[in-house]
């Protein structure tokens, strides 16, 4: 296996085809769950840039999701402008807010940063409740489906005999945005800025001694992380159609933290797998239990919370590189076994 057709590329191509065909295979319930997974994966990639790659603990991710959602609501629903404008605008404005908040992080580290970003959640909710023009106040506000010119996701569309409804369109748009985000984050890891982030994570003082501009690196990590959260938030609000200020709470932030930890921090696929787990599990439990609580007492959402609380602990203790780490271990095991097999062409090792 060499040249153009590496195992990796074949697997990726097959995966892409499967992902592209999924909306035609799965039912409404799972399609809708998958849309939420894709949207969350964009946000989780953002948090991973900050936490996984730069080592800055943040419990304030939900705040930036909210900024994105409200920018989408303002430009899309209130000003009736195209989604080609409000999706990038959500990224830019959330990124700018991240750039404003980021510098507070410069003087703080580790545990202190975790607590201050927690404060961001509460101060954010207070602000959101008190600017009803933008957020609808405590009662919440409605968001709008993406619309490009006269074409809105609400009505669906038929192209070449294939019909796409609202969910299908959301799925492909979220998929496109996720792929773009993944390409961006992947390439970021190979730039000077990206490598500076790793250096800051692995030893701030050492990085500074080596000539890395620690302050700039941290702030840019905040900006990138918030911008991706902004895109995710805008899409999330739009798909959800309605949100109240208290939706952007600590629990939402913790879900994102669980995504990156369980999926595997500082890996490209970790946040995506983590999002699949954190969003998919409650949906699965909901499907299994129907309307009655599990074991007579547990609501599906609670059962899911217990499972991912346990998974969080188990992964942190046993495999800090998350699901991606587990997959790598299995692949290595498989490859080693193959190497140990006698090669018929050369008469054994």
């Amino acid at each position: 296996m060499s040249g153009l057709l590496t195992t990796r590329r074949v697997v990726l191509a097959v995966a892409l085809v499967v992902v592209l065909l999924l909306p035609f295979v799965v039912g409404l319930y799972w399609l809708s769950t998958l849309v939420f997974v894709l949207i969350a994966a964009i946000g989780a990639l953002g948090l991973d840039v900050l936490t996984g790659r730069t080592g800055q603990i943040s419990l304030g991710h939900a705040f930036f999701l909210a900024i994105g959602a409200y920018v989408g609501g303002w430009i899309g629903a209130d000003l009736h402008l195209t989604a080609a404008l409000w999706i990038p605008a959500a990224a830019v404005i959330a990124g700018v807010v991240g750039g404003i908040v980021g510098p507070t992080a410069l003087r703080l580290r580790g545990l202190y940063l975790a607590i201050v970003t927690l404060g961001l959640i509460y101060i954010g909710q207070h602000i959101f409740v008190n600017v009803p023009a933008l957020t609808g106040g405590p009662g919440g506000r409605a968001f709008i489906d993406p619309a490009f010119g006269g074409f809105s996701f609400t009505n669906g569309v038929t192209i070449l005999g294939l019909s796409f409804d609202r969910n299908g369109l959301f799925y492909y748009l979220a998929l496109l945005l996720l792929i773009l985000a993944m390409l961006f984050v992947h390439n970021l890891g190979r730039t000077h800025a990206g490598r500076s982030m790793y250096a800051v994570r692995d030893g701030e003082l050492a990085a500074a001694v080596l000539g890395v501009n620690v302050a700039r690196t941290k702030v840019s990590a905040f900006v990138i992380s918030s911008a991706l959260a902004g895109v995710a938030g805008a899409m999330y609000g739009s798909y959800l159609t309605f949100a109240v200020p208290t939706d952007w709470n600590l629990a939402l932030s913790i879900e994102y933290v669980v995504m990156i930890v369980v999926g595997g921090m500082a890996t490209l696929w970790g946040p995506v797998l983590g999002a699949l787990f954190v969003i998919g599990l409650p949906a699965l439990l909901q499907q299994v239990s129907g309307s009655s609580p599990l074991f007579g007492v547990l609501q599906p959402a609670d059962a899911a919370a217990i499972v991912y609380g346990v998974m969080l602990i188990v992964f942190l203790l046993l495999e800090p590189r998350g699901v991606v780490g587990v997959v790598e271990r299995i692949t290595r095991l498989f490859q080693r076994n193959r190497q140990l097999q006698p090669d018929p062409a050369h008469g054994g090792p």
């Binding site: 703080l108 609380g309 942190l316 203790l317």
Partner: protein, 298 residues
Amino acid sequence: MTTFIELLVAGLALGGVYALIALGFTIVFRASRVINFAQGQLLVLGAFLTSWLAIDGHVPFWFAFLIGAAGTALLALVFQVGVLRFALGRPDFTIVMLTLGLATILQAVLPSIFGSTGRGNGDPWGSSSVQLGQVAFTWVQVWTVVAALVVLVAFWLFNQRSRYGLAMRSAAADPEAALAVGIPLRRVYATAWALAGVVACIGGVFLGGYPNSVDPTLANAALLAFPAIILGGIDSTTGAVVGGFVIGVVEELTAGYQPQYASWLGTNFYLVTPYVVMILVLLLRPYGLFGSRPAERL
């Protein structure tokens, strides 16, 4: 003036609870450099256990309180011995996330067991109040301040005078050196967590007193106590106490006066004042008022 004194007493009572919660954080942090993000859930567990025993089990309140505290301490101990012990020496991030994992689990488990509707905390005072001149305050407020002071003094004595207190202080100062002179670090960490459980239960029960009730949202109070520990400096018990009372008083005074004098700050601004105070303090003194600045090593 009457309003001011009433607000001040309410603030001191709230501050007493914050000080208790903050003490729980500080005990654990000093011993093992861990911030326990599940402290709020321990609080809820303690309050629920006590309330359930006292109201449904018809156990006398003080006895129920004792069992509640023991139960909470046991859970904290089990978590330390069963989970955290294996993460010694791991980065801050890992340890924060482990306690968040416990918080997530308890957050889901507790309402499933005890229900999510509010219930009384089972104390004998209920809503009875006392009148001193023109100023009225509830017995719960009085007892909260008393309990907070008693616990704080008891902990201070324990910390300064007992062998275990000495062991905890030396473990906090330098774990390796402490280990070298024969201090059983594992037992110190376990004790710290058990104590934090007891303090959490006391805080939870008083927080659940009239006019509040015992329900899962009590856990949020622990998050509001973060500003108290930050204000005081995370590794300082004096700081935790001062920070707790300051934050409590500031919050109640804001609740009383802000709607009248600074309504542009929005409704219920008092709920976020602890965080606003905290951020201001951190920008000026990143290690709090009483905290020590850690030395940095490459």
